[in-house]
């Protein structure tokens, strides 16, 4: 990992840069109100996909904590949730700005009570509560187990929030009641940048996730070696 990591990092950063460049150079259909902000599609949607993938990874490692207790799965579960939240917040920000300059241009509205947006915000709150819970339990093993239980439990409600419910109510988003599905309204040309964007953002997630996992491991190792160091000095 250490040997090939710098190359991977460079490759991923180059890929995403290429995606961004492509996003702005590729000609897009001109839609009223949206105009060039339609390019936001390449960023807003992949960020949410990445968040969902991150939440799934977090739940997967939570199950791992329950099956095989240990620090590794707990660390990965928490880190995945953290990174997923970052992407969720970014997705929220891009969504809000997008709405502000297009459908809410000229008005003072920032939060449009769009159902899907509210559901997404709620799922962010669910994972924020996960971190509150982590801070509330002192015993390391118990904390890992209890938080893993909450993680899995919370994850069972996420499909409701992000997938089933938004389709039932009317909303600004595609796929909601009254709106055709996402694939129906995207110009196939846009898929040329869209799919690489999804891949790029998931790779970015992997990069950030990996960094923080290594950071967590190193901090734990630093604690251990510093106590060894102190003990060896005392002897």
């Amino acid at each position: 990992m250490n040997r090939s990591y710098p190359y991977l990092r460079t490759a991923i950063l180059m890929w995403v840069t290429a995606v961004i460049v492509g996003a702005f150079l590729l000609r897009i259909p001109k839609m009223s109100i949206l105009e060039h902000t339609a390019r936001n599609l390449y960023f807003h949607v992949p960020m949410w996909f990445t968040m969902m993938a991150g939440m799934a990874l977090s739940a997967f490692h939570a199950v791992g904590v329950l099956a095989r207790p240990g620090r590794e799965h707990d660390l990965r579960s928490a880190t995945a949730a953290q990174t997923a939240m970052l992407f969720g917040v970014l997705g929220m920000v891009t969504g809000i700005v997008w709405a502000r300059v297009t459908w809410y241009q000229g008005t003072d509205i920032w939060w449009n009570f769009d159902p899907r947006q509210t559901f997404a915000a709620m799922s962010l709150l669910v994972y924020a509560a996960y971190f509150v819970l982590r801070s509330q339990i002192d015993d390391i093993e118990q904390r890992a187990r209890i938080c893993a239980v909450y993680n899995v439990f919370a994850f069972t409600t996420v499909p409701f929030l992000l997938y089933i419910l938004p389709r039932q109510v009317t909303s600004l988003h595609p796929g909601a009641e009254g709106n055709p599905a996402f694939s129906d309204i995207t110009d196939p040309r846009m898929r040329l940048v869209f799919y690489p964007a999804v891949i790029g953002f998931i790779a970015l997630f992997w990069l950030l996730y990996n960094q923080r996992v290594r950071l967590g491991r190193l901090l734990a190792a630093a604690d251990r070696t510093s106590s060894e160091h102190d003990r060896s000095l005392a002897s």
Partner: protein
């Protein structure tokens, strides 16, 4: 003893304790009444839309649950009856017993809330049957979500105080469906229109209860 009998034993123990002290139920009743009076005062006689009434009803119920339900496992830990329970009943039975107890509490709370809304806020419920179905399914879904979480918070430092933080974000699907179904009940719509929402409530209850049954063991046994 079979799991069902064990669960019923746990339930009857909790009911008996509750009947003696009436601690949880009185707290819940007072909370609901105080909140409804606050609402009555704030609304000051204005006519509200059915949607608003339904929304406030369920907000009151959900907050009562979040505040009043936290103690169901905490008291076990505090009074150190938890070990006894662990010895005598399987985790599934303990969970089911607690679930049923919470369900009964929540049905009482919801019925009280609906009654106070009808009397104090002059809400006219056109379809009584639909309202009852919504209350029952909503209480079941709420109990499903709350029971496991109250077991989780019994292990934390802050205890029951952190239950609202954990519970409220998870209840959004429940709230949406319950409010829509209640609106339909107040409006007097046909069952077919509200069936979508009732199904969502039932599905939410099913998912949370199933997940809780699988996960409860991990929380209950140290």
């Amino acid at each position: 003893m079979s799991v069902v009998r064990e669960a019923l034993v746990v339930l009857s123990k909790d009911l008996r304790l509750e009947w003696r002290t009436r601690a949880a139920i009185s707290a819940l009743i007072l909370f609901v009444l105080s909140t409804v009076f606050l609402i009555v005062y704030s609304v000051a006689g204005e006519d509200l839309q059915p949607r608003t009434d339904a929304a406030m009803l369920w907000v009151v119920v959900v907050f009562s649950a979040a505040i009043g339900m936290g103690r169901s496992f905490v008291t076990e830990e505090e009074q150190q009856t938890a070990t006894l329970l662990r010895l005598h009943a399987s985790p599934g039975a303990v969970y089911t017993g607690k679930l049923l107890f919470n369900f009964l509490l929540l049905v009482t709370v919801s019925v009280l809330a609906v009654a106070s809304f009808v009397f104090l806020l002059n809400v006219d419920v056109a379809s009584g049957g639909l309202m009852i179905a919504t209350v029952v399914l909503g209480a079941l879904a709420l109990a499903g979500a709350t029971t496991l979480l109250s077991a989780i918070v019994s292990k934390t430092r802050a205890g029951a105080a952190v239950l609202p933080i954990l519970l409220l974000p998870l209840l959004l699907p429940l709230l949406g469906a319950a409010v829509l179904a209640t609106t339909a009940a107040i409006d007097g719509s046909a069952w077919s229109e509200a069936s979508d929402h009732l199904v969502t409530l039932a599905a939410f209850a099913g998912v949370t209860i199933a997940a809780s049954l699988l996960l409860f063991d991990q929380v209950w046994n140290d």
